[in-house]
Symmetry: none
Subunit: 193 residues, 4 copies
DNA sequence: TATTAAACGAGACGGTACGTCGCGTCTTGGT
DNA sequence: ACCAAGACGCGACGTACCGTCTCGTTTAATA
């Protein structure tokens, strides 16, 4: 009847995921523990385990659920402008705090647990890729993109360097970097005749 | 006295790293523990901790040390041929068993521990990048590469899509993929006039 | 509709107690849990808690209810013969499987929970003692028993050594032991003049 | 070097058993937990489990170790006087606080765990019985005891009624009760001729 | 007959404790 | 003097039950 009742009854799930993000932000994913999540969320450990099979699965859910509005593609007719805007949005969301370090940790966890990797792919990477490919296909049909370009490959080429920076060199992802990247990819590395 | 003695005496370090790789291959990095390494290596835990501050650091050392001959760049004068060969070598070494999963786990660990990330960069990523950039610069001077191309960026563009496949979509890295990638990057995405 | 239905409807109480004994016999009282009883009896936990406040209370009820015909005293006029027969009956019932181990566990539980001890006394020990004392009193009046003998004490003297065997040394209770015991108690330990 | 060092180094065992008795006295054996013992003793749970396989085994050790000087038999030449004194001592030690309730709980636990029962017998009951039987044998040789009396049985007859009071009716064990018991057992229940 | 209250199965829930594992530090005994 | 062996305090794991608490669903007794 009360708000408390409703909140607790219908969705402890939300509270647990919220707490998970809090603790991950405060102490880092590595020091996160289901024990601590349950304690701070005021919830029994079983209630967590009933919903998620592992710390990783909980974290995945928490991060992806918090993802907010998603990253929908604009379509202004100008491919480059649209790509620029979309990649900037992705970089702003996943490349810097508060979500950046969490996303980075999530990808890290995916390296240790194939179930996390699979879930991450299905729930985030692939949908995102599909949207990108769709936009690219349209551009290709309009002649804004080299006709013979493999679009799945294009997706990897656009994303890869950003992930390389995020995960490997771990330098900040700036709009300026996005800009240089787009220009380079469009032009190609071969010398101009 | 014996060979055994000398091995143990002079270089327990080697034995510990070897055991680390063994266990990581058998059970996966996630289930690796210093406890188990010390036990199987027939070594006191102290002896491990005296050499490495953490499981991650030990693993990093073990993986990088095992790296074999390194990935030196050929220089036949033909940039594309050299790139192809070098990337194929890298992919063959780090993109498939036995080393592939370990390298993947190592990059994963780097997401949780900045010290591992830093060490990985210094000891492997940067040197490798430097060699690549050097080769690219030479090619640029010879007009085999677009003059205005940012070479650091080129490095990211060449590596990124491979890491994307290794870490994110986790599909196998084939020579065929390398081929398509090289072609695409050289040509650029912009439509041919 | 079926027998099952009627049984469940009219007396879940019986079903729960029956299941309790089953499980206690299969796994031992120590591993008995209300959770398991409810599950096997096909009954909600609430239905158990509505009837008994604790595992111990349930077990007490189950054991005492299963007690069968009770241990009524014969009265043939011969005290020793009657005692012999009655004690043999008690020993056969409570001193050997299937009920023996359960009764033993019940007494054990009474050491940890005063409510169980009290209930055990009221529902089993005292009535049994009263019957014994009544029989002894009659014998005393008939001169078959030393006149000044404290009858409550007599009860303890008759029962005590049996419980000592059952609970402390945990050796089997045989008719032969009963025989020796009776002879000894009647004769007394003092040397014959 | 310090007292702390020595105490912790040589004998955590003592500290754990001491704490066990404390907690058992404060909250009762039923509410005792290894978790709580370890916490209050300032000791890891593992350190407890390394020494004792179960709460019961720990408790047994703690109770028996605390037993103090043991219950040695006097031998004044007068059997009845000696028995009286020895039984009084036992009753004073095990029949009243602080040790009484603990001993009662220990016997209770022995009903649920055969290993405890066995250990209790070997470490306390049997030695005590042996001493009693030895004293009785001597008395028998001196004609202070009926010649044909089975001495093992005598032990059970002397102890049984006391355990019956302690465990079953759970009434207090007084010197007066001991007195009546001794008199009755010596005289026997048969009517005086 | 229709209504209503109680009992019910099922099982989620906040807790406590279990017994285990591995951490990183510290101690001991043997060579 | 070094080192294997492993004890130690600690924290977290994942599990089992506790006793309480909703949920709809029978079931029975009343209106």
């Amino acid at each position: 009847m009360s708000d408390d009742r409703r909140t607790r009854g219908t969705d402890r799930t939300q509270a647990i995921m919220r707490t998970t993000l809090e603790l991950a932000q405060e102490f880092g994913y590595a020091k996160l523990s289901i024990e601590a999540v349950a304690a701070r969320a005021g919830v029994g450990k079983h209630t967590v385990y009933r919903r998620w099979p592992s710390k990783g699965a909980l974290f995945l859910d928490a991060v992806l659920t918090s993802g907010g509005p998603g990253l929908d593609y604009p379509d202004t007719g100008d491919l480059v402008a649209d790509l620029r805007q979309q990649i900037r949005a992705a970089v702003d969301l996943l490349g810097r705090p508060p979500l950046g370090p969490l996303y980075q940790a999530l990808v890290g966890e995916a390296q240790h647990d194939p179930r996390i990797a699979a879930a991450l792919n299905e729930r985030f990477i692939r949908p995102q890729a599909d949207r990108t490919v769709a936009r690219l296909r349209k551009a290709q049909q309009q002649g804004q993109l080299s006709a013979e370009f493999d679009l799945d490959l294009a997706m990897a080429i656009l994303s890869g360097p950003l992930y390389f920076r995020l995960l490997i060199t771990q330098e900040p992802l700036t709009h300026e970097y996005v800009e240089r990247l787009l220009n380079a990819l469009l032009a190609g590395m071969a010398p101009r005749p």
